[in-house]
């Protein structure tokens, strides 16, 4: 049984309008941030969600750990539907599901020492007394590489570098010993020379706590290094899911192909053959008809504008939503 099963999940945000607009138009508009997504994450794997900004990957991650409520659909965690639970049940569930935010500069309270920031998780969950909480926090600080813990415990976030802050963020995520961690662009704000260090830490923590990760990233080069499988998102939908190597060497969806071609490669001799699609990702308020990608797709044909392609398994463990492969 997969650890996480997402079944046809949707999240539509209502669009804020001015007073006059609401007076004269009856129709409510929605941003379809996540629009019918299904996938599974096996226990112990690193599943990557990649796509451009506005594709809905962060919203999807927040839905899985129930930071926001889905509009429709089911989210199964270890077989149990968690899409609608609330109250105490939800709070207990959050021990098992954690989320790390992208920006370690704004996700840490500037006036809270990092020791307190990490211990807060224990306090809020009512685990242990004060001295036990402190003990456990110090252990975690050492574990994420901030040693000696006693010298880091009372520091404020501004006294740390970007990489160290990201370590604090991971410390806060694992102190409750969760089974599943969603990590949103963990290295995007960190200098390139220390990125590999953070990725290594993620791997180590995974082994030690037998974690399962959802790794959200726009950086496909990094994703290929750390993920086992990758799902590509476009405008609130998943267009392709495959093994990390297959999705790069054997991309099927035209969007994936152009995404791969656009990745900057640190090698001046690399040749760029693929044509880039024109324009940019359209608004998720009124997405195009049929296949979302058809107005930009180099291989579009009649059917694409009319009918939405379903995500189907066209090769072993390789899913794609495109009429080309019917």
């Amino acid at each position: 049984m997969p650890l996480i099963e997402v079944k046809n999940v949707m999240k539509h945000f209502p669009v804020q309008k001015g007073f006059l607009d609401t007076l004269f138009t009856r129709q409510k508009e929605f941003v379809k941030a996540v629009d019918g997504i299904s996938f599974e994450i096996e226990e112990g794997e690193v599943f990557g969600l990649a796509g451009e900004s506005g594709s809905g990957k962060t919203t999807m991650g927040r839905l899985i750990v129930r930071l926001i409520d889905p509009t429709a659909g089911q989210i199964l965690f270890a077989g149990q539907d968690i899409a609608k639970i609330r109250g105490k049940q939800l709070r207990l569930l959050k021990r098992r599901l954690q989320f790390t935010f992208q920006d370690p500069y704004s996700s840490l309270n500037p006036r809270l020492t990092i020791g307190n920031a990490i211990a807060d998780a224990l306090r809020l969950q009512g685990i242990g007394n004060k001295s036990e909480q402190k003990q456990r926090t110090k252990k975690i600080l050492e574990r994420v590489g901030l040693s000696p813990a006693s010298s880091f415990y009372d520091r404020l976030p501004h006294q740390l570098s970007g990489g160290q802050r990201q370590r604090v963020v991971f410390g806060r995520a694992i102190i409750l010993e969760p089974e599943f961690v969603v990590t949103d662009e963990p290295v995007a704000m960190v200098d390139v020379s220390v990125r590999a260090q953070i990725l290594e830490l993620m791997k180590d923590l995974q082994d030690e706590y037998s974690l399962t990760y959802l790794f959200i990233s726009h950086d496909l080069a990094t994703a290929r290094h750390i993920c086992d499988r990758i799902g590509i998102m476009y405008l609130g939908k998943i267009v392709e899911i495959a093994d990390k190597d297959q999705i790069y060497t054997d991309s099927l969806h035209p969007y994936t192909v152009s995404l791969m071609a656009a990745i900057p490669v640190p090698d001046p001799k690399a040749k760029k053959g693929e044509k880039l699609p024109k324009g940019e990702i359209p608004s998720p308020i009124n997405p195009p008809s049929g296949c979302n990608f058809h107005p930009r797709c180099p291989k579009t044909f009649e059917r694409c504008a009319e009918e939405e392609p379903a995500l189907r398994e066209v090769k072993k463990e390789h899913w794609v939503a495109c009429h080309l492969y019917d």
Partner: protein, 336 residues
Amino acid sequence: MPNLLEIHNLSVEYKTRLGIARAVDNVSITLDENKTLGLAGESGCGKSTLGRAIIRLVPYPGRILEGEILLNLDEDVPYENGVVEKGQINLLQLDDDQMRALRGKKLAYIFQDPMTSLNPMERIGKHFVEIIKAHEPDTPKEDAQVRTKDLLEALDILPERVLDYPHQFSGGMRQRVMIGLGLTLTPQLLIADEPTTSLDVIVEAQILNLISDLKDKFNLTMMLITHNLGVLAETADSIAIMYTGRIMEIAPTEALFESPQHPYTQALLQSVPDVRKPDRKLSWIPGSPPSLTEPIPGCMFRPRCPHAMEICEMEPPPLIKSASGGIVACYLYEGS
């Protein structure tokens, strides 16, 4: 003929509460005409400050201490009280009026964030007309508008959209507009500071293609400031690596990637993931750069360098000719 831009021994300091930080430390660089120089380094290495120093817009409390920035002006540029004569001039000796006449006209700068560098209260077209009128006040408004539309067409933006406001444009289009604004008066030198950092990969690739097309069309000399070595591999002719305000290495792009000389360059390249080589192990540089307010004697990379020697603690290493056809500041190559 002299080079288009020569920088000699330039130093820039910021006076901060914690002390004086030397963000650019004795930097000398030369830019050849019609070439792109990439300026790379991690955040805080002084690459943006160096770019801003060239147009003499170092943000407060920064101050240009010393040095020379020599621009080879290709024509006389009139300003309020006279003319800046053509030929080689030292930008640091010009007064504010003279400098203002050169900015936009001969030196263009594209700022990092296209979301905040356009005026939200003005139509796109007005941005262009303003630049043209500021430098060529005799141009009739109609001519300026025609030129604007031509430019937008070259940037793949529908000319009708001159009437739109910045918020009606997407991030990629705003960055196109910024590039267009930079090119309006066909400057000799375009400095682009992280022009694609806030953009998505596909849009980033589109913009980089556009920049290289325009470079040929307008005979541009460019300085491209970025932390992304992948971007430079595709666009730059040569690359300068900066660390703690100093130049560590300059080399032609291919040589830099093929045989990086400086230990910092080597370590930096090993930490960049390459999507085509998933099996290559990524490494990182231990520690973090020393604080600029408490500089250490000798080579600033020494505490993180695997090859550090005794001599590295004495004096900062001078830039010497390197085996890859560039220059490098490292004692490893002294005497070889």
